[in-house]
Symmetry: C3
Amino acid sequence: MSILNKVGEALTEVRNKTPLVHHITNYVTVNDCANIVLALGGSPVMADDEKEVEDMVAIASALVINIGTLNSRTVNSMILAGKKANKLKIPVILDPVGVGATAYRTEIAKKLIEEIKFSVIRGNISEIKNIAGIKSNTKGVDAEEVTEEKNLVIKEKKILGETLSEELGAVIAITGEVDSISFENQTYFVANGHKTLSKVTGTGCMCTSLIGCFCGANDDYFLGTLAGILSMGIAGEIAHEKTKDLGTSSFRVALIDSISKLDAKIIMERSKINCEI
Amino acid sequence: MSILNKVGEALTEVRNKTPLVHHITNYVTVNDCANIVLALGGSPVMADDEKEVEDMVAIASALVINIGTLNSRTVNSMILAGKKANKLKIPVILDPVGVGATAYRTEIAKKLIEEIKFSVIRGNISEIKNIAGIKSNTKGVDAEEVTEEKNLVIKEKKILGETLSEELGAVIAITGEVDSISFENQTYFVANGHKTLSKVTGTGCMCTSLIGCFCGANDDYFLGTLAGILSMGIAGEIAHEKTKDLGTSSFRVALIDSISKLDAKIIMERSKINCEI
Amino acid sequence: MSILNKVGEALTEVRNKTPLVHHITNYVTVNDCANIVLALGGSPVMADDEKEVEDMVAIASALVINIGTLNSRTVNSMILAGKKANKLKIPVILDPVGVGATAYRTEIAKKLIEEIKFSVIRGNISEIKNIAGIKSNTKGVDAEEVTEEKNLVIKEKKILGETLSEELGAVIAITGEVDSISFENQTYFVANGHKTLSKVTGTGCMCTSLIGCFCGANDDYFLGTLAGILSMGIAGEIAHEKTKDLGTSSFRVALIDSISKLDAKIIMERSKINCEI
């Protein structure tokens, strides 16, 4: 079966299994994350008190940890939930939002990776470099380095992703104009997406939540990560086509709409994997 | 006057009195709750620090307590605000989101009910069963049991709602495909709504906020609860008609739009109360 | 150059410089604030833990402090970030949401003003009166006093704004049906806007975030505040024209859309500054 057929089937699995995706996430984009999980066919739950996160993750199919609005109260909850998920073989997905922007974020991301075995880590190039211990210029939480020539970026993403994947045993996804998804010594490149995605807050967080849904419904996390990133990129393209010049908020509505209308046929027709850049 | 006429008048009262509805609620759906309160004609305020909740509730017309993202910091605020509201005869409405999913939620819901006299409790069948001390399978926060035959469900909702209402002295609303609203030995059934409501996060929370508005403008909390649930169901139907196949995010926009355009005539024409199922 | 030309240029500067606007704000309207900052051309970051706010504000171009859901945990973060911003000459904008509604809010607003030098304070008449130590009837967080005759209101806003500006060395913006922006002994009046802005939560917060963007891209904070308030008012008018009777949630989508499509020409054509009321 082709990889795109598998992605289509993974979507069907999400819709059939309605995986419960437990999020410990930020308060900025949490509503969009919940709605995009529902739109894809999953079931979101957001709970972050240390008194209940272990119970909650125990009934979940996946755990998403997002450090967008990191605070002392929830760090311990993240660790408790992550460890419990590890014990129960529930996949844990990390979105290291803004790591590198402050010493605290860098320290906490490091701590999370030490204490929890992640199945997937998704970030932009600057965040993933930071996780890998490579210095990078981060400006806020949305930054991407765009200093290098495109082919170099592609090559760098492959090396960075695969090296970090080997080191951590996790799927590493680096999103940007071209997304890379690496596991061990394999890397997919995805060229879907639209630049308006960067004008709506939380498209990265939402992408991570989609990955959570796919990984909650299928044990192949490499496939699940690819499926999540393809879904987001394709939805961005459709949203742009539907809303053209209406503005960024109409785009955002159409983005979640498109996820709710996504099917295997659309994935098959629109996916741009491994294409020549 | 017919009950539907009374609901129509209750809406007019909300619009004339602009009740201030104080919420101590979760950070996932809080924005939609605030916007739907404004759309109906109320005025929302969200404040959760224990240093100010008593002052805030003292100027409010109703208090909504929603445990969606329960945490140790706000539990005490909920109790302080609830007790103050009781003292001032301000109605308190409980949305026991996800109770039963974790031991912590069950414990806190129990504690809230012991310490605060609620005017209304709204939940799905699994949440209300849990409040009543009946075991139920809850999966996350959005679950509904759908194992039984429909007539049995109706009958069970009536018995459960009326028994719990007698015990707690509160209006008990059990929402689902058919909603029931019970007070003492009386139960209304509402068959309005649309299945897409379950594909948008927070439609339960928003429904509870609407109940808060109605109860803040009119002392008849049985009527207020019925009015809130009818409003949500009707808005869901209109939203579906307006957005058809656009997707779940367009539906969500149309849902709040419909509340802002709701009037007595629409309520009269569309309400399905006590109809044969 | 006319003031409107300057506002148009200020918008261009936001788009060219992409100022990073650090927010310590409430969890009700935070997503809309982030999206409207992106729509205008800025870059939002929301971080509130005391362990990282100083690092975050150090890489930002402006700091917005909004006390909408004030709590003990973030008050200290606000003070740390504010003091750091002052040291680095980064403008700090205060939105004293609901000050006067509770003793706690009044106390904290006072403390913030004592500890931090604000470049801009934006509120409604009741909030600004409260900051100035004048008693005012506040009901919740959205209240505006509408007891006085319109000309008196205008005159009062000028006196209040200029007096407070002299006292605090800050630009004082009082938004309402007519907005006033005062600095030292000068006041602009803006008559743009639409009444539906008051039916969407967070339009005040969003306006403050827009001011944050402009002040992060241009050292003239009086101009930046005027630009933010004009942008919001004009966007409200366009949103109403586009959505007419659709409802308040469509209006909200169109509002952020309009900010993303705003340009110098629209500002020039639509601004109503200093006009006779």
